[in-house]
């Protein structure tokens, strides 16, 4: 429930609403966009980054919190392991049980090979489950993969890797069809026409949705299908290091049973890393919309094995994270809310940015409004945010639209006695997505032979900024591509002895560089929270 003081401020929003309804706020010029990004986007805050001291990306600028993990000792540096004692011996090992891993598993299995999917928490515990907004695909008459390509490149400030973008937009309609065939309940007209809307930075309405549970609907269906097809899944058993063979090719992983605290060896002919992102590292102390398990584990083990990273200095802050109530701080307010017409407003109830700028620009403008311009609204917990005028949605599209199209949002705020049909939401940018990751080709291959990376732990598809709806898309597109390639590739892989030699080399490099603080160990697997600091009780 809003405090009386906040309710007083909401009156200003209500006062200006009739004037704002139906009027269009101008979009920024390219120069204005550059200006707000350079001055206010966290990617440009120098103290948030440092050059990496070890590994193949030595010298690259990466976030402090991630550098800490990469310049750490391995969990198993003091563990005696018998690499000959193999607990799982398969063709394709998939590490990560989100949308990318599940899609890869399905297609790999279709190649007639033995597939094992291991995951840190439950199968389906992933950011995929939380993606509300939608999935892009150019499948309508006024749209084409070529237009989609331009939107992706422009959104990424033309830094994206062209071959990856081409694969993304080309496969997009194929992916929607694949999902439709699996029984995904996309929002459709009675005749089957997809109901599609805009997202930030799209030039066509190509966002496909399943209410505001799009990711959940995709994830639970993929999971159902993986189980139906008899693919082996081992939960609560994260991989903690990769295994290579004597020729330096990926050949398995060391798994850690979270419950029995045992280490187990999984041998495979090809390995797909699908471990997701790193929001739970809370770069620059930002709140995050990410899943509990988003702790960069895949980046750590892949990097130690020598796979090259790209774009690690660019992080996506979603413009609309919940700033109030404190129980849901950082929770994603889906971009679909803005797609349907809700606009950001300052303390005076005035709009200060077009509501559908790209995410980085929108976030930077909100940070500017709250910092330099001091036009934000302060919560009792000391958090500052701006309004997102959700009641506009029902005024624009008719009563009942929020209930029908945003049931998850409506429910999440209703739990704390805020009716988003009648009251605006208070929002502030939240750490949302890791734009960078392992450098891959259009089949998901990394710079290490037989090692693939798909989904959020890969980089280059979105360049320095990802558009809404292209992440659900990329996990399925590249999950399928890697699943296919890794499945076929197994047939020509000749296995030899497993080794952890790469780990010993990395360890030596840490010691020589002086980078490794003696007691720092990674991957961290799960974050450690006590909430005392946030409550002023530390």
């Amino acid at each position: 429930m809003y405090t009386p003081q906040m309710k007083e401020l909401i009156k200003k929003v209500e006062e200006t609403r009739p004037y704002r309804l139906g009027s269009d706020f101008p979009r920024m010029t390219p120069e204005e966009r550059q200006d707000v990004l350079k001055n206010f986007h966290p990617d440009f805050i120098q103290s948030g980054f440092r050059p990496l001291k070890i590994g193949v990306n030595r010298g690259d600028r990466i976030p402090q919190e991630l550098a800490d993990l990469l310049e750490s000792h391995s969990m198993i540096s003091n563990v005696k392991l018998d690499l000959e004692k193999i607990s799982y011996d398969v063709d394709v090992l998939i590490i990560g049980g989100g949308g990318a891993g599940a899609a890869a598993a399905l297609v790999a299995k279709e190649q007639g090979v033995e597939v094992l999917l291991v995951t840190k928490l439950r199968f389906g515990d992933a950011n995929t489950m939380m993606a509300q907004g939608g999935i892009q695909a150019a499948d309508k008459a006024n749209d084409s993969p070529l237009i989609h390509y331009l939107d992706v490149m422009g959104g990424g400030h033309f830094t994206n890797i062209p071959g990856l973008v081409s694969a993304l937009v080309n496969d997009a309609p194929l992916v929607i069809k694949w999902l439709e065939d699996m029984g995904i309940m996309f929002d459709k007209e009675d005749d089957g026409t997809m109901i599609t809307i805009h997202g930030g930075g799209t030039s066509r309405k190509r966002m496909h949705t399943a209410r505001d549970y799009t990711g959940a609907e995709i994830m639970r269906t993929l999971r159902d299908e993986v189980i139906n097809r008899g693919i082996s899944v081992v939960e609560f058993s994260p991989a903690v290091e990769l295994l290579l063979d004597e020729d330096g090719r990926a050949a398995g992983a060391v798994l850690y049973n979270l419950e029995t605290e045992e280490y187990l060896i999984a041998r495979a002919k090809t390995v797909i890393l699908a471990t997701g992102g790193s929001g739970r590292l809370h770069y620059q102390n930002f709140p995050t919309s990410n899943h509990y398990g988003a702790t960069a584990d895949g980046l750590v083990m892949g990097y130690r094995a020598g796979a090259k990273l790209i774009f690690m200095d660019t992080i996506q802050y979603h413009p609309t994270g919940a700033a109030y109530p404190p129980q849901i701080l950082g929770l994603l307010v889906t971009e679909k809310v803005r797609g349907l017409g809700a606009t950001p407003l300052n303390i005076k109830g005035e709009q200060f940015i077009h509501h559908l700028e790209t995410r980085d620009v929108e976030s930077a403008a909100i940070i500017r409004e709250c910092t330099e311009r001091k036009m934000g609204i302060t919560t009792p917990a000391g958090m500052v945010g701006v309004w997102l005028d959700s009641p506009l949605i029902d005024l624009i599209h008719g009563e009942g639209t929020i209930e029908k199209q945003l049931p998850a949002m409506l429910r999440q705020f209703a739990r704390f006695d805020i009716d988003i049909r009648k009251e605006p939401m208070l929002i502030y940018p939240t750490l949302h997505y890791q734009n960078g990751g392992f450098l891959i080709d259009e089949n998901g291959c990394t710079s290490i032979e037989n090692l693939y990376a798909v989904g959020e732990n890969s980089g280059g598809i979105h360049g320095r900024n990802r558009l809404m709806g292209n992440s659900l898309l990329d996990i399925i597109v590249f999950g399928r591509r890697a699943g296919f390639h890794a499945g076929v590739k197994t047939k020509e892989v000749k296995q030899n002895k497993l080794t952890l030699e790469h780990l010993y080399c990395y360890q030596r490099e840490i010691e020589q560089s002086g980078a490794g603080v003696v007691d720092r160990v990674s991957p961290v697997l799960v974050p450690h929270y006590n909430h005392r600091e946030a409550l002023g009780l530390s």
Binding site: Y149, P162, K177, G183, S203, D224, N228, Q412, H528
Partner: protein
């Protein structure tokens, strides 16, 4: 923030004093837990943190998602992070969207005694018993839409005296509906055919080869659909 108001909660019987403003999940972490089971998206989407609780002095068992429910004084709680439910294996493509498609895999849906425990326990406020009734009647469409917001936390099944696994019935109905009842998208099929026919191959190659300035001009001048 001022000194927080504190309440006593009992995690699996053990007492902890925690700030009253916290959710159950945050309170457990405040108490010192580092969660492995019983914690997922922390946003009410994934169903990992189903929790059963009772307030001291009250006989009623209540439920909620730990990430979405605030603590109360005298709360006795335990999490149900896993439920050993039956999940049928099927080939969705080969099924017909009829009552028998569901009842052949989950015949126990007809054992429902109408106690409504499933509905009362649902943290998503779904009308669970109603969607099972739709399944019994073979009304796949209504079963699918009524169950759509399900997060598969398992609380319904944990309370069902007839041993129905409602959430697995729900996903079967939704997949049948999405696959066999919802109209197929003809514009999608057409685009898929065009891609297979190579209609955009040359265009994409040209875009990949285009220079930065050329791309920027095309991007900045592209028309934007209203």
């Amino acid at each position: 923030m001022n000194a927080a108001e504190m309440v006593d909660i009992y995690v699996m019987g053990k007492k902890y004093t925690v700030p009253a403003s916290l959710t159950i999940m945050n309170a457990m972490e405040f108490a010192g837990y580092q969660l492995k089971r019983g914690c997922g998206c922390r946003a009410g989407f994934c169903g990992a943190c189903a929790t059963v609780y009772r307030i001291a002095g009250d006989y009623e068992l209540k439920v909620g998602l730990a990430c979405q429910t605030k603590v109360e004084h005298g709360m006795y709680l335990t999490q149900i992070p896993f439920f050993p439910a039956l999940k049928a294996l099927y080939d969705i493509e080969s099924l017909d969207p009829t009552a028998s498609a569901i009842s052949s895999y989950y015949p126990e849906i007809y054992r429902c005694i109408g106690c409504n425990s499933c509905t009362k326990v649902c943290p998503q406020d779904l009308n669970v018993m109603q969607y099972i009734a739709y399944a019994q009647r073979g009304d796949i469409s209504r079963c699918a839409t009524e169950s759509f917001d399900c997060i598969m936390c398992g609380l319904c099944a944990s309370r069902c005296p007839a041993h129905i696994v409602q959430y697995n019935v729900g996903i079967l109905a939704r997949r049948l509906y999405g696959r066999h009842i919802l109209a197929r998208s003809s514009h999608l099929t057409q685009r898929v055919d065009e891609i297979a026919g190579g209609k955009y191959t040359a265009g994409l190659e040209a875009l990949m080869a285009a220079g930065l300035e050329e791309l920027k001009v095309a991007y900045n001048n592209r028309d934007i659909e209203d």
